[in-house]
Symmetry: C2
Subunit: 140 residues, 2 copies
DNA sequence: AGGCATACGGATAAATTTATCCCTATGCCC
DNA sequence: GGGCATAGGGATAAATTTATCCGTATGCCT
């Protein structure tokens, strides 16, 4: 397992939060779990861009950081369910704010990001699933 | 300059926001600028952990992403001032939420993070400056 | 038996981000 | 001249995060 070499910067709240959310899929994972999408295979289907491996790793980090809890059912085939902890729930306003800001500024952001000196291509189309699910859960 | 090789994930608002905030000091930079700490040298003094180089790079990215504007005064010695754009300002609620959540959960987070399998040491003590400045500006 | 689903994680390569080192330029002051 | 302050950025190494590949385990279905 990887071990840090440089000191971690933890001075202000900003850095603490950043550390917890540090990982390509962590905000999305928290969001998914908050929507009651709790089994690893469900989550994976929701995030086609991610591999099983990364999800495992980042879910474990979220668990170690006390944001999610993992329940393992002693069954075969195995069944695992994640849920948010108290602290995890308290992060949701931040996640939601990020999500909303990004969506609200999507057009602008896609433009500036694609003009970025980096950025060769972009993968979209996934999280529409989120919205569908949210609708289903609202109406259903 | 570095050029991406993997496609950028941009599907949901979460990823868009993450991309804009992607950089060790970006939230702190936006926060500082919002507090009217706008000259590079001032900002640098505020963030002792960061080097001049990184700040330049990340400020430029923030500028390219349309979050900040850079005003160069044709003087000698040179004078530069950054300010938030409209869009940049609209991000502040997110930044503030992150900052507040981190501060509110500081004790818990410091504990879990230091128990992290990684994490050899931690550097603190800096952003107290933020708070001092905030006070000064309030009372002064 | 072979293929599917569930779930986990080691090892290593590749990608990406940060850190370091070093050089440019100008004016002021001792 | 030498040192300070202002501000910017190339080149490269090091650190860190992601991506890939592969192997483990069990039960059900055809």
């Amino acid at each position: 397992m990887y071990e840090r070499k440089m000191p971690l910067t933890i001075d202000c709240g900003l850095h603490l939060t950043k550390e917890v959310l540090n990982g390509k899929w962590k905000p999305a994972l928290l969001h998914a779990i908050s929507l009651d999408i709790k089994r690893p295979s469900e989550i994976l289907r929701l995030l086609p861009g991610a591999t099983r491996r990364v999800l495992n790793v980042q879910l474990k980090e979220l668990e170690e950081h006390g944001m999610v809890e993992k329940k393992v059912y002693p069954q075969l085939p195995p069944k695992v369910e994640y849920s948010l902890t108290e602290t995890g729930w308290s992060l949701m306003p931040v996640i939601d704010a990020m999500n909303q800001w990004g969506d609200a500024n999507r057009q602008f952001l896609e433009t500036v990001i694609s003009q970025d000196r980096r950025t060769p291509q972009v993968s979209k189309s996934v999280c529409q699933l989120y919205r569908n699910m949210k609708e289903e859960r609202k109406t259903g």
